[in-house]
């Protein structure tokens, strides 16, 4: 797609301010300002803190993305931004900025579904990645399994009924005193641990594609309190590895249930939780064992980023779609089924 239009993509749905220049599915630049330090002292993403940080960062990040790609804003053929789902105040910054920039440059604007962005992310690195596929999306804000019948044709097979997987990592890491963000903290702590030391419960065995993590949280809290009081608490790396295994096991099992049920030849994944090393290894092993092709974006494209928004925009623009100037953000947007 070297003759594809140059797109500037914005993603500000949660705690990353991200801007990228893409040409079709080619990434020319992909810059972001993580707010992890801003939220660390609160142990979770604070919506108002996130929105404030976006408006502080977006102007200079836009310049950085253009500079790094070696393009001038006059060269852009379109601008795209995440429209939802996400935190309203956070979405509003990137969406307002992107829409106004498109107007000032007199080019089309496309509002993108955040989840569709994640669905397109593997395509940025793998030309062979094609539907039909089952895609696991897991982050601090969302956890779901999507059946991608074709580009633009999606069915949500399952989702979390309480916490998102990343949220479960955050809460458990916080309880265990391992720090924030929880995913990387538990991942690191698990290095020297044995995941078989404690078998924490795997929730919702009779709902093959849905997740629940609140029961796990309760189980871990109860277990730790009881064994701490009795002086029989295993070493922290073993607890961390066991917690991680419980979360990973559920994510992998349900994703493979979905692949089996739909009969697709391909599995893909995205979202910040896919930076977890154990999850990546387990997905690779299980897909391998079943002869499924697995497409995992590199960690920088798993977390929220502007390039995936640009990639989804290339698809939407290719279909002749754009978003009206009157459009508002849609913080509870659901992935369209069409």
């Amino acid at each position: 797609m070297s003759d594809s239009p140059l797109v500037l993509g914005f993603e500000t749905s949660c705690d990353e301010t991200a801007v990228a220049v893409t040409r079709g599915f080619e990434v020319l630049s992909n810059v972001m300002a993580s707010q992890v330090d801003d939220h660390a002292r609160f142990g979770g993403v604070v919506p108002e803190v996130a929105a404030r940080a976006h408006v502080e960062a977006i102007r200079s990040l836009t310049h950085a993305a253009l500079r790094e790609a070696g393009v001038h804003s006059m060269d852009l053929a379109a601008v795209a931004a995440t429209q939802g789902p996400g935190l309203a105040g956070a979405l509003m910054v990137g969406f307002s900025y992107g829409k106004a920039l498109a107007w000032a440059l007199q080019v089309p604007f496309v509002g993108i579904d955040h989840m569709e962005g994640h669905l397109f992310a593997p395509r940025l690195e793998h030309d062979e990645y094609q539907p039909p596929a089952v895609v696991l999306l897991a982050s601090g804000g969302h956890s779901q399994i999507i059946h991608m019948r074709d580009w633009g044709s999606y069915e949500t097979l399952g989702a979390t009924i309480d916490d998102a997987a990343g949220e479960a990592f955050d809460k458990l890491a916080r309880f265990l005193g391992l720090g924030y963000p929880g995913g990387p903290a538990i991942d690191a702590e698990s290095d020297d641990g044995d995941p078989r030391v404690v078998r924490f419960p795997r929730a919702l065995p009779d709902r093959p594609f849905d997740f629940s993590f609140s029961g796990l949280k309760t189980a871990v809290v109860t277990y730790v309190r009881r064994h701490h009081a009795a002086g029989t608490l295993p070493a922290m790396p073993d607890i961390a590895a066991s917690v991680q295994e419980a979360i990973v096991d559920v994510l992998v099992t349900k994703t493979l249930n979905a692949a089996e049920e739909t009969g697709v030849p391909t599995v893909a994944a995205g979202g910040g939780v896919l930076a977890n090393r154990r999850l990546r290894v387990r997905l690779a092993e299980e897909c391998d064992a079943r002869g499924l092709r697995l497409f995992l974006p590199s960690p920088a494209l798993c977390t929220d980023n502007g390039a995936m928004i640009g990639a989804a925009a290339a698809f939407r623009l290719g279909r002749g779609e754009s978003t009206s100037a009157e459009a508002e953000i849609d913080s509870s947007r659901r992935l369209s089924e069409s």
Binding site: R52, V55, I58, R59, A100, A104, K171, F175, V221
Partner: protein, 234 residues
């Protein structure tokens, strides 16, 4: 000099264009929700009215608050994007100043109010002078009770403008020497006028220094329990 002004810090939203001293187009709407949906269509409307292209603009004036946090950000993000795309100078203006600018002047001291929600209001005081107003002290955030105490303490006759309708019914009750008046909300045309003065005085900020004027730290409630403080680790 061609100027664009954007104002979205209250329930009202407005956009205005000026060529030199002349206001050439404006659009406004009162609706607390919908700053994001209003702005670009309003820009399109005003530029069509004026017969301008976006890159004709030399200065983008932006109301940076205080006011509604999300409105401040929608306006500032829009202003940053337009200024950046067309190479225009970004000029920040205060919402409280913009309200006071349009107060009917007389001999009364002007108290300009902008609702910042959560039971607080931003207030600025101004003295009327020929052709305008002069700020008397800095903008303060206060509760309705504190505002009442400040007005009682100040001996001069007062004209209260801005969003006094958002105050509790009895907030100003029984205060003598107090009148209420218009405007209720800041407007982009007032933002334009103030920005013109800033440009003429050469007080142009670096774009990184054009930032929201929230006047209040963010609420930091995380909507889940702090397990760690309950846990065995403390």
């Amino acid at each position: 000099m061609k100027m664009l002004a954007i104002e979205t810090t209250t329930a009202a939203s407005s956009v205005a264009l000026a060529d030199g001293d002349d206001l050439v187009a404006s659009a406004h709407r009162v609706d607390r929700r919908g700053h994001v949906g209003f702005l670009v269509p309003a820009l399109g409307f005003c530029f069509a009215q004026a017969g301008w292209e976006p890159d004709n603009v030399d200065v983008v004036a932006i109301d940076v608050g205080p006011g509604l946090f999300s409105g401040i950000r929608a306006g500032l993000a829009t202003a940053q994007a337009v200024a950046g795309a067309v190479g225009a100078q970004l000029v920040p203006v205060s919402s409280v100043d913009a309200v006071a600018m349009r107060a009917a002047t007389g001999h009364r001291k002007i108290w300009s109010l902008v609702d910042t929600r959560r039971g607080e209001i931003a207030v600025g005081r101004y003295q009327p002078v020929p052709g305008g107003v002069v700020r008397d002290g800095s903008t303060e955030l206060c509760t309705p009770d504190e505002l009442r105490a400040m007005i009682e303490e100040d001996a001069s006759q007062a004209l209260i403008v801005g969003d006094w309708a958002a105050l509790p019914d009895d907030a100003l009750h029984g205060l003598h020497a107090v009148k209420t008046g218009r405007p209720r909300f800041p407007d982009a045309s007032a933002v334009l006028e103030i920005a013109r003065g800033i440009v003429q005085r050469g007080e142009l900020p670096h774009p990184d220094d054009v930032r929201p004027h929230y006047m209040r730290d963010p609420d930091v409630t995380i909507n889940w329990t702090d397990y760690r403080s309950e846990g065995p680790w403390q």
